[in-house]
Symmetry: C2
Subunit: 472 residues, 2 copies
């Protein structure tokens, strides 16, 4: 699959990175002489962050190229994304050029945050709004507006690259999210302009409070809870009247004087100026990765998008030991020594154990029947350091698998296949009701037996059966 990115910058670069890391080839057109460098900067951030939200490796990265001709960039593209500045006449010129060269079944999306499809299109319905959110490589939301057949095709492709398409049924200025953002932006500008609060105080008012709520539930579900046991209707009755109080100044637009621009720029410098934009981006990405990984656990919001997407990734084949993990190392797994923390070696191998249990038919469905494996011992040997962004591949050998016991040996390989750690693990099959050991189902015993007899031909791995501190 091929994507054409018309207009680089932060948004175009984010789209390019999202497609590339999902295995698409990407061609970029941008008149900015610095476009190459800017897009490669975004891509570098994305390579560090996006793989870290998954427990499997992303597909092999696609090929990136730059070209000075729109026609060249567009040829053969399945998705064409326009992210030029927000000037309608400019978009019309670019769209005319795109229309000349685009293949008949290509999706053509505009990243516009304000224009409606009826404004983008003149005598056609080809152009749809596909409005993403920065950083495009991490945030799943894309607002789709326009012709239903086009947006339907677009939605399918966006799901394929791990995004969340929100189809806006009625076109409206600024779609949905930016109307809400615009409201907050106006009010915030007044607060600064009137000297009520600084940019930093406003940011704290958001991130120490309702921002944490909105990241996982949004506005209405949060208020549903605020209504307590009496629910949404009660909440509306209780807080509805406040609506008619004259709290907001929102329809009055603060004049955009140089003084206001200066005031905000200076407050922003005081707040965040100690970090470069690159450092801020990485801090933001580390936070997003950590929060997204937290949301995976409950399957809420963006967490569910990730786990749904991950199922589609292929497990790499192995002609020898089964590969039970193949993933990149998130920054959140590293510690003050600048390398992957000891506990996360075990987190990765525990996931590998789960994957192996799935392979032998003892996955979640089996657990729901009231039987499972509990780990009774682990021995971890740390042989080499691993770092954020590196690939970790785990191959698992069955040492013994008779009766209630399952004895596994995980080989954790880093870059170039070097052995970075081994984890020897002993599991016991249990009845989840009595919490006592019992025999596994015969299907499972049979499946383990197949692995065990194949692996019995291999040598017992170096490091198996050793105690901590054993010499030689």
């Amino acid at each position: 699959m091929k994507a054409a990115i018309i207009g680089g910058g932060v948004i175009g670069g984010g789209w390019a990175a999202r497609f590339l890391l999902n295995g698409w080839d990407v061609a970029v057109y941008d008149t900015d002489p610095q476009a190459d460098r800017k897009i490669l900067d975004v891509l570098e951030n994305a390579r560090r962050a996006l793989p870290a939200i998954y427990n499997k490796s992303l597909p092999a990265e696609g090929e990136l190229r730059f070209n000075d001709e729109i026609a060249e960039v567009i040829v053969g593209a399945d998705w064409i994304q326009e992210s030029v500045p927000e000037r309608l006449e400019l978009k019309h010129v670019v769209h005319a050029e795109i229309a000349k060269h685009a293949s008949a079944d290509a999706v053509i999306g505009s990243s516009t945050s304000g224009f409606k499809p009826s404004e983008l299109n003149r005598n056609e319905t080809r152009f749809i709004v596909a409005h993403p959110f920065n950083p495009v490589y991490l945030l799943p939301l894309v607002e789709l507006v326009g012709d239903p057949m086009q947006t339907e095709t677009a939605a399918q492709i966006l799901r394929d690259i791990g995004m969340y398409p929100l189809t806006v049924r009625n076109e409206i200025d600024a779609h949905i999210a930016d109307r809400l953002l615009e409201a907050v932006w106006r009010e915030a500008l007044w607060l600064v302009s009137d000297g009520v609060a600084t940019t930093s105080e406003i940011d704290e008012a958001i991130r120490m409070g309702f921002g944490l709520r909105w990241a996982q539930m949004g506005l209405f579900e949060t208020y549903r809870i605020a209504g307590g046991e009496a629910g949404m209707r009660h909440f509306m009755q209780q807080f509805g009247p406040a609506l008619s109080w004259p709290w907001t100044k929102l329809m009055d637009v603060p004049e955009f004087t140089p003084e206001l621009v200066n005031l905000i720029a200076e407050q922003s410098d005081a707040q965040s100026g100690h970090l470069s934009i690159r450092e801020l981006e990485r801090l933001r990405d580390d936070n997003l990765v950590g929060m997204l990984r937290a949301l995976r656990i409950t399957g809420s919001g963006a967490g569910k998008i990730i786990t749904d997407h991950e199922v589609r990734f292929e497990d790499p084949s192995s002609d020898e030991l089964p590969v039970t993990a193949h993933r990149q190392i998130p920054v959140s797994w590293t510690d003050y020594n600048g390398h992957m923390n000891e506990a996360h070696f075990l987190e990765a191998s525990a996931e590998a154990t789960d994957r192996f249990l799935e392979m032998i038919g003892a996955g979640p469905e089996y657990v729901s029947t009231g039987k499972s494996y509990f780990t009774v011992e682990n021995h971890v040997r740390y042989l080499a350091e691993l770092h954020a962004g590196e690939t970790l591949k785990i191959a698992t050998q069955v040492l013994a698998g008779d009766g209630r016991k399952l004895h596994l040996f995980h080989n954790l390989n880093g870059v170039d296949g070097n052995l970075a750690a081994t984890v020897e693990t002993l599991l016991l099959h249990v009845d989840l009701n009595t919490r006592k050991s019992c025999s596994p189902d015969t299907e499972i015993t049979k499946s383990i037996g197949q692995f065990a007899s194949a692996h019995a031909k291999r040598a017992v791995p170096e490091g198996a059966g050793r105690f901590v501190g054993q010499r030689g």
Copy 2:
């Protein structure tokens, strides 16, 4: 210390839980005959969630009592918090009663989201706004407005109970956060009322996109990044003009007809009605705990509030082995088997190792001099299950500590001191520049030696020196 809670409900209950879990005694006054049960429900949620964001145990919980007399509840209270419904005349009546009985140096806060101190006070300055955010036991933000001396005292106390006081310098209707919330709420109601989007679509537009940004950075810092390398000034120049576009309908208030209330209540039922409010609360809390723990790692926003607060918790003393961890088990540490996941046993013991390294002077400051300990082996024996909410206490024995090696044995004890797991760990002292082993500083060798010689008098623990699967 004692807190008086006037008015229970979700907010009053949240305040009560926040104070209780930080070791304060709490007395509650509420005329609702169901107040006891409602507050105990909130407390149950809080007991499950708040301890889970810390790596040390909270202080022993304070004592909770209910009383039918305001005077009884207030006597001796250091903090009096009023959370009665948002009717100014009611607040005046309650405040008059509070003023009669409050001790001279008590802080008196009102949870009001809309009223200003000049409205709350009549001829005095005692009453300040202390406006928290639901769930009060997890979200750090409290907006303080009013007399500078009172808010200063209040801010100090709030920090002591792990909250983030934001002092609003100029009183204004709805303070800061609720002005922003009100703006979004109005716009969202229009979107629903006009049939542009449902409550569920609006929530997705928030939590799949900008909600994730705001939980960690807020509005202005996010836009600073959006400006790219050119920064905040560039962002304002690029997006400023859109301000004058007529996107928002915010000053027009949608009429609060029964039809609109029904429409929203029905959409909310369709969106979230499959979960009870209790289930939604727990889902929210699990998400918040996971996200807050993710923010701890980077020290961003609410994450830093937690780690700053945690330093104040005392380590429990032990007349025998040093206690290197004493904490409750977060829900996010459990897995599909309904118990604490194997990897998190090692996460807890890795934190215990760090704590022990601090005890011997090899903490973060030592690491910043370019030397550190790397773990080379771990052996974990799982002896009993642990569950969310239970307390975990780790006592650490030095098996050997001569030269470059440090050999530790962690005893992980659950409820009633039962041994739940042991972790035998071998560390090697390294030079962080060469990544090769080297001798520790003499101060550290000396400190290890003291522990080692004391511990040498003890028996070698059962389970040390064993290999995986060893019998007998």
